[in-house]
């Protein structure tokens, strides 16, 4: 079937059909992005936290703007080439357009990756610390070591971590023969993949699994971690149970059996079966008791029992003998995996857990699936250790003003200033800089009330960003335009000026990467740019189709292909249009 009006215009609309279609679609897109932009305004106007102004690195955004505008030019050139029947030229411009789309997505990817690996911590007193968490490895004896990839941070980074003056020494191995922290040359010890220092570390002697709620990945993770340390999780005692159709209780699992998902699933089946059976028995028991009670109730005139209950429900004890029993949770112990035939000895294994998946306690921690770990919380290693590239007191200041407290006093009383001498020193230096700046700005004159017309912004006053931290360092590192391309780069030399901060977990209020979870700004940022990125990919796919599969149509009906490219181009321009607004709103405001 021939599609009508692909080249010629319809009389009533004066347009070929595809153009009507794309404009209808674009109208709906205007509504979609318009709604999202108004969502942004809404979130920003009523934000109850200091909105991260100009928080994104401008250079990648700027390059991306150039790329998209450039590709908008090349796509109209490609269309013009088709109109003039120059296939080769069309191909060239189309390829440039697609390369632009690819480059845009690569830059977007770099930017996203920087966000997803950048740690933020909000303290209970609303101090916000941003930076990169240190990494650690765990060896097969369960000891934790700082992880130092060759070349990264170098000697200085290492020294900073062990700095006595810091008041917080992060030595890993607890006074044993493994030597000082950071040395991962221990003979014969294999170490795990490095994990980040924002985890909960728990030294467990026993694991109690909730048979109803246990979740396979959680159990699998525990088994793997124990196995890596040469430990095994074994059953502490024989388990007996009886399911519906069995007369006697039988052995379900015996002491010393290894934890396995198969075993848990078998136990779960028996438990659920027994539970259902018992529930049915209880229902029957209750029904019988009710029937008896109703029979003894006085009847009204129509013969129906009146429900003024006098007396108790008498349950028939006979039913209880039908009840079956099966365990609802199983306790395992951690053992040293011994050689065949020898006795296993009790031990403990160190589990490294994601903070979101565990409710930690000093002596027992429960995982998200109800699995209970008993033992001892490794509080020292459950702290968040990071090299901070920004320390932000704006939120403290905002809360202080709301409560009618002097922000400076509030900041002086924060946990971080009180406990970290290095930050205290930096803050004092920062304040002197800002006071100097305020003096300088007084040259712009004063208003009627005697207040200076220009004064440092809240961001300048209360936030120490990474450039400032570097500038306050002794070396005055020279930073090029690209040294912080997608944010502060902790692999560069200047990173040695980032203060080392250790935050106990109980002092924190929220810790997150720079993901939608961190705050509304990042939520809307990822939502709109993500959707825009999908548009770029979709548009590139369609344009790529015209480029790689269009030759046949070009030979048969070049005008039709030109119209297709025009319509695809209209969509592409729209994608550019959205970015023209996104760039200033998200990157510059």
């Amino acid at each position: 079937m021939d599609i009508p009006y692909t080249v010629t215009a319809r009389k009533d609309t004066g347009l070929y059909n595809a153009k009507v279609g794309i404009w209808l679609f674009l109208a709906s897109e205007v509504m979609l992005f318009g709604g999202l932009f108004s969502g942004y305004v809404f979130l920003r106007v009523y934000a109850d936290f200091p909105w991260p102004e100009r928080a994104l690195p401008v250079v990648p955004g700027l390059i991306n703007t150039f790329i998209l505008i450039g590709s908008s030019v090349t796509i109209v050139f490609a269309w013009a080439a088709l109109k003039m029947r120059k296939w080769r030229q069309f191909q060239v411009f189309m390829i440039i357009t697609l390369l632009c789309a690819g480059l845009f997505m690569v830059l977007k990817g770099i930017e996203y990756k920087a966000k997803w690996s950048h740690q933020a911590v909000r303290m209970k007193d609303f101090v916000v610390i941003e930076g990169h968490t240190h990494k650690a490895t765990i060896d097969n004896t369960g000891h934790i070591h700082h992880y130092h990839p060759e070349g990264e941070h170098g000697e200085k980074g290492h020294a900073a971590i062990g700095d006595e003056a810091n008041g917080m020494i992060l030595v890993a191995a607890e006074g044993d023969s493994h030597g000082e922290e950071g040395h991962h040359s221990d003979e014969g010890l294999t170490q795990s993949e490095p994990f980040e220092f924002n985890r909960v570390v728990f030294k467990a002697d026993s694991v109690t699994v909730d048979l109803e709620k246990f979740y396979d990945p959680v159990i699998r993770d525990l088994m793997k971690q124990a196995q890596d340390q040469g430990k095994s999780i074994v059953l502490t005692g024989d388990l007996y149970g009886r399911s519906t159709h069995e007369v006697d209780e039988k052995l379900l699992a015996s002491k010393g059996d290894l934890l396995s998902l198969g075993m848990l699933k078998k136990l779960r089946a028996v438990h659920l079966d027994a539970k259902a059976h018992n529930a049915a028995i209880k229902t029957k028991q209750n029904r019988k008791a009710w029937a008896q009670l109703r029979g003894s109730l006085p009847k009204d005139q129509k013969g129906a029992p009146s429900y003024k209950i006098k007396g108790d429900l008498v349950l028939d004890e006979e039913f209880n003998k039908f009840l079956v029993s099966a365990p609802s949770s199983v306790r395992f112990e951690i053992m040293d995996a011994a050689e065949e035939g020898t006795e296993k000895t009790a031990a403990s294994a160190t589990f490294v857990l994601k903070p979101r998946e565990v409710r930690e306690g000093a002596e027992s921690s429960s995982l998200r699936d109800g699995t209970l770990l008993e033992g001892e919380l490794d509080a020292k290693h459950s702290q968040i250790e990071m090299a901070a590239d920004a320390i932000d007191f704006r939120f403290v200041a905002q809360r202080a003003v709301e409560k009618g407290i002097d922000p400076e006093v509030a900041i002086q009383n924060t946990w971080l200033i009180k406990n970290n001498p290095e930050v205290k020193e930096l803050w004092a230096e920062h304040k002197s800089h800002i006071d100097k700046l305020a003096k300088e700005l007084e040259k712009h004159g004063f208003d009627k009330n005697g207040k200076p017309k220009q004064f440092p912004t809240d961001t300048e006053r209360y936030r120490m960003g990474w450039q400032e931290l570097v500038n306050m360092g002794e070396g005055k590192e020279v930073m090029g335009v690209f040294s912080g391309f997608a944010g502060p780069n902790h692999k560069k030399d200047y990173a040695k000026h980032f203060p080392e901060i250790v935050v106990p977990r109980e002092e924190t209020n929220l810790e997150s990467k720079f993901t939608p979870r961190w705050n509304n700004y990042y939520a809307i940022y990822f939502l709109i740019t993500g959707l825009h990125g999908l548009h770029v990919i979709g548009g590139a796919l369609v344009l790529g189709h015209f480029l790689f599969c269009g030759k046949k149509m070009y030979l048969n009906n070049p005008e039709r292909l030109a119209n297709r490219v025009e319509v695809g181009g209209l969509f592409w321009h729209f994608v550019d249009l959205v970015w023209i607004f996104l760039f200033p709103i998200l990157y510059l405001m």
Binding site: L26, A27, S38, Y46, M84, F581, F583
Partner: protein, 127 residues
């Protein structure tokens, strides 16, 4: 609509010029936002900067729409569809803004923060 070869050749020059103009405006946007002496209004970002940024963005968007998307010479129907999109888009924005006048109030609704009708746990009535 530019249909003859000569017209398209002429249009190509215009497209290139518009592209360069857009580059220029992009640089202006960044300069206005980052260079200190070009910081209009109060120091740092404020409503003046927001208005300037949005005006430049609107100029850029208009250029893209008028030239690249051929809205400077289109058929009537396209304008109708486009205006419908804008009108409904604005309607959606107003719909979101409508939440600002949410009649439901928590607490006494006297403080600035509370007038918006947003939930403030500290001012919520205790039951």
């Amino acid at each position: 609509m530019a249909d003859s070869v000569a017209e398209i050749q002429k249009a190509k020059k215009l497209y290139l010029f518009i592209g360069l103009t857009l580059f220029f405006f992009t640089v202006v946007t960044v300069a206005v936002a980052t260079v200190e002496i070009l910081d209009f209004g109060g120091r740092g970002f404020d409503h003046v900067d927001a208005v300037i940024g949005l005006i430049i963005a609107s100029i850029k968007a208009s250029l893209v729409m008028l030239i690249f998307m051929h809205l400077n010479h289109e058929k009537k129907l396209v304008y109708q569809l486009f205006i419908m999109g804008i009108v409904l888009g604005v309607f959606l924005m107003v719909l979101t803004a409508w939440a600002f006048s949410d009649p439901i109030r928590y607490g006494k609704g006297t403080t600035e923060a509370n007038k918006s009708g947003f939930y403030d746990p500290e001012k919520a009535p205790q039951d």
